[in-house]
């Protein structure tokens, strides 16, 4: 039979258990808005009964949190895709703004004006103002190509900067996980559970999962190993292995993501991220945007090539030259190799007198894959056979120089070989890289009369201008299957569809993650009404325990006064 003293003890234990429970209710209410917090529960068990079977009251058990690790796992799995779609949507929208046509100042509009100006010039080849119009519209078009290309490049640089911030964030989170691993390991001794620290660690990993794809598992000591990307261990036990943005070794000015392990060993991880914001940033920076830049380059290149091809063998008003230097030069090695991109065929030069009458026609038979620039220069000089009339030479910078004698000038005739295009003679546009450096050629900028509209210096000849105006409706892109407009429309439509698809994907993914989070909330989050009910219950229990002690005290008094 238990003594009164032990009953007093029992009452005291009941008081402290209820107080602890009350404390936990307070803790839950206080943390109801804390990110990642799981509500905690106090558990009590009955104390061992005495030999006669009378119960010994209640004992406190470790406080636990209400938490479902399978739901958490699911969230960690889906979160990276969510981050990926969100990031993709954000950047695609920025790209869309760059390609935007709605204000009437997009590339499309510039192209339309460009073709229209040629159409107008073909109608008035003698008109100075129509020539100036072509020059202005062509300049606007070239500017727009360059502008869009550099805006896309700017977006790449911006992503680069954000990437660097993301790397810092990943490192911070990795460090936090390792630190919490250490603390949890010290705190937990088989009895105690580090509820709040575990919540904080989960929260850190969840934040990480928006940036990169994460794999994690817990070791027997309660420490979590975090693996990001394909196989990089970010945190293991008490250690973490950070990432580093490296400027060297990759494309100029573009960060490479390195993982740094023990002994300062580095490994390039740039291509190992599959999902999450970071992977999408890298993909945007190195693939998606670059592809749009290539699309612009392809257009700009082809535009320059098609226009130049027609332009080179044409003439403007008094556009015969007594000297011309090719735009492109060859280095000493290339000088001794056959000129690339040539075709078999003839290449003609006409010598004209000061009255623009053709005096002589020099014709060279060009062989592709055989003729080098010096070959062509020598053969031309042999054909002309009089340096006083016309002379070709190679400049120090590897470009070709044509010079006619006093009182003579020259123009280009038929060119089946493409020599004019390969070297950049009498060109309209100049470009080496495509959209990035598309410019009007020097001679067009200097004098709009140099714009070729016809042939053989006939001022009212509109044949060349007409052919250039007709390029608008001629399929010249992609193996001559699409017009410039169709190609560009294709790029725009592709981009629009990509944005739309991403919107759908993102909405779907986010609703999925939201549902899992809802499930988690319904399990782990705090309900005020519940807590208030608990609070009242514990209050009543505390009151009852106090009454019990009081009663036992009275009983003891009764015994003493007996």
């Amino acid at each position: 039979m238990p003594s009164l003293n032990s009953s007093l003890n029992l009452g005291q234990r009941a008081l402290s258990i209820n107080q602890r429970a009350m404390h936990t209710v307070g803790h839950n209410i206080a943390n109801q808005e804390t990110e990642g917090f799981s509500r905690q529960q106090v558990h009590s068990g009955t104390s061992a009964p005495d030999p006669t079977g009378v119960g010994g009251g209640a004992d406190a058990q470790p406080t636990t949190r209400v938490y479902d690790k399978f739901v958490q796992r699911k969230i960690l799995q889906e979160n990276p895709r969510s981050g990926m779609f969100r990031s993709r949507g954000e950047f695609l929208q920025k790209i869309e703004i760059i390609f935007s046509e709605t204000e009437g100042n997009g590339l499309h509009n510039a192209l339309n004006e460009f073709w229209n100006s040629w159409s107008q010039l073909s109608n008035n080849p003698e008109s100075e103002s129509a020539r100036i119009q072509v020059r202005v519209q062509s300049d606007v078009l070239a500017r727009r190509f360059r502008g869009m290309h550099s805006q896309l490049q700017g977006l790449r640089t911006e992503i680069n900067g954000r990437l660097s911030a993301n790397i810092n964030k990943v490192n911070e989170l990795g460090k936090k996980v390792a630190e919490l691993n250490r603390q949890i390991n010290t705190y937990e001794d088989g009895q105690r559970i580090a509820n709040d620290m575990r919540d904080a660690r989960n929260q850190a990993i969840e934040e990480l999962s928006e940036l990169v794809d994460v794999n994690s598992f817990e070791d027997p000591n309660g420490r979590i190993t975090v693996i990001i990307g394909r196989d990089w261990t970010l945190a293991e036990g008490n250690n973490h292995y950070h990432l580093e943005g490296n400027m060297k070794g990759g494309e100029l000015g573009m960060l490479r993501v390195d993982g740094v392990s023990v002994n300062d060993n580095r490994r390039d991880l740039t291509r190992t991220f599959r999902e999450g914001e970071m992977s999408e940033m890298l993909r945007m920076r190195d693939e998606t945007i670059v592809e749009y830049q290539h699309n612009l380059d392809e257009m700009a290149f082809n535009l320059a090539a098609q226009v130049n091809k027609l332009h080179a063998t044409g003439t403007g008003i008094n556009s015969a030259k007594d000297m011309m230097k090719s735009t492109f030069g060859l280095n000493s090695e290339a000088l001794n190799q056959p000129l690339p991109f040539l075709k078999d065929g003839i290449f003609q030069l006409h010598l004209v007198d000061p009255h623009n009458e053709i005096l002589e026609t020099y014709e060279l038979e060009i062989q592709s894959g055989v003729d080098t620039l010096p070959d062509i220069v020598n053969r031309l000089n042999q054909t002309v056979n009089d340096p006083g009339l016309l002379q070709a030479s190679i400049e120090a910078d590897g470009s070709m120089l044509l010079q006619s004698g006093h009182d003579y000038k020259f123009i280009f005739g038929e060119d089946q070989s493409g020599v004019t295009q390969v070297l950049g003679l009498n060109s309209f546009f100049d470009t080496l890289k495509g959209a990035e450096d598309l410019h009007l050629s020097q001679q067009i900028r200097e004098n709009p009369n140099n714009i070729s509209t016809g042939k053989d210096l006939i001022p009212g000849d509109n044949r060349v201008a007409l052919e250039i105006a007709k390029l608008q409706t001629r399929p010249t892109m992609r193996d001559e299957t699409m017009t410039f407009d169709e190609y560009y429309n294709g790029v725009l439509t592709g981009m629009g569809l990509k944005i739309q698809r991403n919107k759908t994907d993102q909405a779907h993914q986010e609703s999925m993650v939201r549902q899992f989070k809802e499930i988690r909330s319904s399990i782990s989050a705090v309900n005020m009404d519940e807590e208030l009910t608990d609070m009242m219950q514990y209050q009543k229990a505390y009151e009852a325990s106090a009454r019990f002690i009081n009663t036992v005290d009275e009983m003891m008094e009764t015994v003493i006064n007996m």
Binding site: N112, P459, A469, N489, R514, S522, V526, N527, T533
Partner: protein
Amino acid sequence: MRVTEVTKRDHVVDNIQKSSGQLQDIQMQMATGRRLNKTSDDPIGAARSQDIVTTISSQKQLLQNIVDNVAWLQRTEQEISHINEMLGKIRTLALSQAGSDSNEESRQMVAREFSAARKSLFDTGNAREGKLYLFSGIKSLSPALKRNGIFQPAKVLTEGAVQNGTGDFLDVSQFRAQFEGYSNNDYRIRVTSGGVWGQARVKISDDGGRTWSKEQILRPVTHVFNPDGKPNDQVLLKFSDQEGRLGNVLPKQFDFNSEASAEFDLKALGIVFPQGLEFIFQPNPEVTYNGSIHKKEALISNGLTIPVNVTAQELLLGDVENGVDTFSLLATMERALLENDGIAIAQRLGELDSAQTQVLKQLADVGNTIRELYAVQSKLENLQFEKESQLSDIQDLDIAEATVDLKVAEANNNLALNTGARLIQPSLSDFLR
């Protein structure tokens, strides 16, 4: 499922977000009046609308081109009608002088009118619109017609010449052979029997050596007759020394017809024309075409072009095979008038008709081109309207529909706010003392 504070809050926020997002989309559309504001709003529609914008823009340019070209062609038409009227007047005059009713005096008068008409025709052929010559083809900055010089040096061909013992080969440097006059014919004069002037005999061909006339004597001034006896072109072959004096080459007293000349030392005269020598005349009409045979082509729809020039060649000079050189014709007729030759005039009336037909054909062509341009213009204008309404269908907002949508979205938004406010307020704590 257990409801918690967090899920309650998330739900409310989520629903309000959704409904105000909808509201914002509609508001954006209403503000711009366009359904399509970004490519991603409707990628396929955006591509179609870009396509239509391009079509509208290039059609606008084509319409402008057409207006320019119609103005040009109307000016051309005017000038051609003027030429036609002129030729009609000339024909009436010629007809009145063709018979035997007319006298020499009136023919002289008419000849003067012919001369004025020729000049006027020449000027009309060189008519300009602004700084551009109407009838020069693509050589629009050069006059269409050019008057040729009346003199041209004869080309002397020595390849066929044979030495027959009468003397040395002709020394070309000793004298100058020159043609005078206008003709379209390829005259060749060939020495058939060698000798000095008055002795050497020549044959004349008017077709570059295919057919030849009878022999005639070579003189210091030789009339190059048309072998077929057609009215000739009055082309002369003249010889002179290097100073251009004719008399120096031949003694003044020399007379081919007198017996005394037979005793002359022919070799002392210096110049012996060997047999087989040829003098070649370059066809040299009074007026030649100076423009380009290429015509300016104008874009009238995507990739299609139409010629908008009439060249003075086809209008007044005719092509080589058939057609009439109006200037030569008038010159010949003028000469006939001056010579009081009514029959020759009558013979040329048929050619005058052809010259007029030649002009009328061009007039009809220009009319057709103008009509075609008008047809294209009205077609383009219709298309333009059609395309604009298509564009509007794709990118513009249906205001009535949008207003209804706006009302619905507004109601949804209110509802979300309302229920949210009610859901989130009550708590057990409100009911505890």
